[in-house]
Symmetry: C2
Subunit: 367 residues, 2 copies
């Protein structure tokens, strides 16, 4: 009566997956011998080994990770926690982690937390309940994080990416956010800008944003310039017209805006355009991250390019060492600060000599 039947030629796929026992029977040896062959612990050319190899091939046997894992307390699986895939900068590190992990025979269990510190804890719980051997994390903040303390206490190996902890015992792969931000300010200053503002993602969701602000603030002060109050915007916001209008309508508006991420920079440029300004003629804009799409855009975004894929790869490398080391020797590896690159792009230019006045009538200066 069933409307669709499989073609009669194809028999029911009741083929049960072969186990080590099936293989042993087929090869006429014990399961121990099969296990040794699979793990490379058997003599390479003995007749028994030959027969086992043949049986494995004929049966298409793959050892179950569950059985193995139960015995060895290892799953060859790591957990990866990131704020969001919506930002391609994280996509880059995920690809790096994933590629390195695959080469090493590890699986990657992925979770996104949507920049919500509350979700971080539950994501971690989920991953831990899947018996991951280690973790690679990008969290809201690395310093004084109860979450990380907890992980330390449990003795779970982990490595941070993007986070830049001040406590050096926490392993992290990142760039020098402070130095990079300083360099942005210096570039802008070199172009003649004195009033440089900063737009940043929410500090409570991103210690990187805060670090970049620190670098901005420091460089401004050193250069004898007055840092402007930071404009914090929520992550994921695509329309920043009102924020940009507000900052440009101030009495002494900035001539350049440093954004803590490329995504914010794109939104700022979009907002400026909508307000009738042209970038960089009327306003210089700099981002941070170096996501691919900003290289294709015209004008090409000026930004700090992070080696995201490499960051992911190196993070897995560190984690692998950690997982291989005895649990009481976590000092086997040290934090990694990777080089970044300031891509000059086309969104910065000299100080505008005059530009559309965005102040609303009632705010216009006397005269």
């Amino acid at each position: 009566m069933s409307p669709v039947k499989p073609p009669p030629g194809r028999p029911a796929p009741a083929k049960t997956t072969p186990t080590i026992r099936t293989v042993a029977a087929r090869a006429g040896v014990s399961v121990a011998t099969v296990s040794r062959v699979v793990n490379g612990l058997a003599p390479a050319h003995s007749p028994a080994t030959q027969r086992v190899r043949a049986a494995i091939k004929e049966l298409g046997f793959t050892p179950s990770r569950l059985g193995r894992g139960l015995k060895t307390a290892r799953t060859s699986t790591i957990g990866l926690v990131i704020p969001s895939l919506g930002n391609p900068v994280f996509a880059g590190s995920v690809e790096g982690v994933q590629a390195a992990a695959r080469e090493a025979g590890y699986g990657v269990l992925l979770t996104a937390t949507n920049y919500d510190p509350g979700e971080e804890a539950s994501a971690l719980e989920t991953l831990l309940s899947h018996n991951v051997d280690g973790l690679i994390l990008t969290v809201a903040k690395a310093d004084g994080s109860a979450l990380l303390e907890d992980l330390d206490g449990r003795g779970v190996p982990y490595v941070l990416v993007f986070n830049q902890p001040s406590e050096s015992h926490r392993l992290a792969v990142t760039v020098d956010n402070v130095a990079a931000a300083r360099q942005v300010v210096e570039l802008l200053k070199g172009l003649g800008h004195r009033r440089i503002g900063m737009v940043a993602g929410s500090f409570t969701s991103s210690d990187r944003a805060r670090l970049r602000w620190l670098g901005y603030d420091d460089a401004m002060v050193r250069a004898g310039l007055k840092p402007a109050p930071v404009i914090e915007v929520p992550f994921g916001a695509t329309d920043l017209t009102e924020q940009v209008r507000a900052v440009l309508a101030a009495p002494e508006p900035p001539t350049a805006l440093f954004c803590s991420t490329d995504l914010i920079a794109v939104a700022v440029i979009g907002a400026a355009t909508r307000l009738g300004l042209e970038v960089p003629r009327d306003l210089s804009v700099v981002g941070f991250d170096g996501i691919a799409v900003t290289a294709a855009m015209r004008p090409q975004l000026t930004t700090i390019v992070q080696p995201t894929e490499r960051m992911g790869r190196e993070a897995f490398g560190l984690l692998a060492r950690l997982m291989a080391a005895a649990p009481d020797r976590p000092d086997i590896a040290t934090p990694v600060l990777l080089p970044y690159e300031l891509r000059r792009g086309e969104t910065v230019g000299p100080v505008p000599t005059g530009r559309p006045d965005l102040r609303s009538p009632q705010e216009a200066p006397p005269g």
Copy 2:
């Protein structure tokens, strides 16, 4: 001699993870009872249950998925295969899958194939070796795929995302790519465009690209217009200046370009800008996908917006039904075609009346 010692206050974290046996001993019951309590099979208020619950809490016990998995042949883990995270359109579906999976207590093992059909097979092997309960895939092509045949043969439950197979027995969550592409052509035609070109990602890496071209071709013919030969570009290319120059330097160059993805559209707009053209004044451009960053850009990209996160969620929903069903009843679910939206944006306009001549001198028309 070790330079850094843990503070003496904190004892060595030798705390061994509690097992079902530990809990049983603590509560003075058998492991069977603990198992029943954990799985909600014990009487809710019996004294034994109470004691077990207390012991679980005191010990911080979480059942090992390895032990459970060995018994039940389930890992509560699914595999997710996508071409690349570099394209945010996939990031969206990944987030959807991941969120739905987490809510259902499933872990998601992620792998990217870099649009390489060869990597698809090895990625699948890796995932299967991790004993995933099911798979969600975006592959190069769904029709006549040896990979999918193999999966069918093995009886592994899987659901496709983005792929739009013509064979209806393959479960997929996608949009109607052909219809959407037609709609783009109709929009352009309504604006007066007659010479509409198409730039597409490599057909061999993406059956979606081919389907969108099919829709384009069909709509052109129906409208009495002449379809131009498709310009295939490799995935991941950010500089399309030469390709765009070539197509616009042709004798009867297109006045509008339909791109099979947003990322390609962004690159095409960048190339046009570099060539001294203004979009949409000199050239109309339409994308496909609706990735977030194109909403922030000015001019805002005209594109087909796919509900990517929802696609991911629905895919997991289908897979969950499949995994719950008996292996011989795969007909429990049917393919899902989700609605898309044509976002008008700002990159399309009327046919240009005149624009910079991109033909090189030797190609200039006589006179």
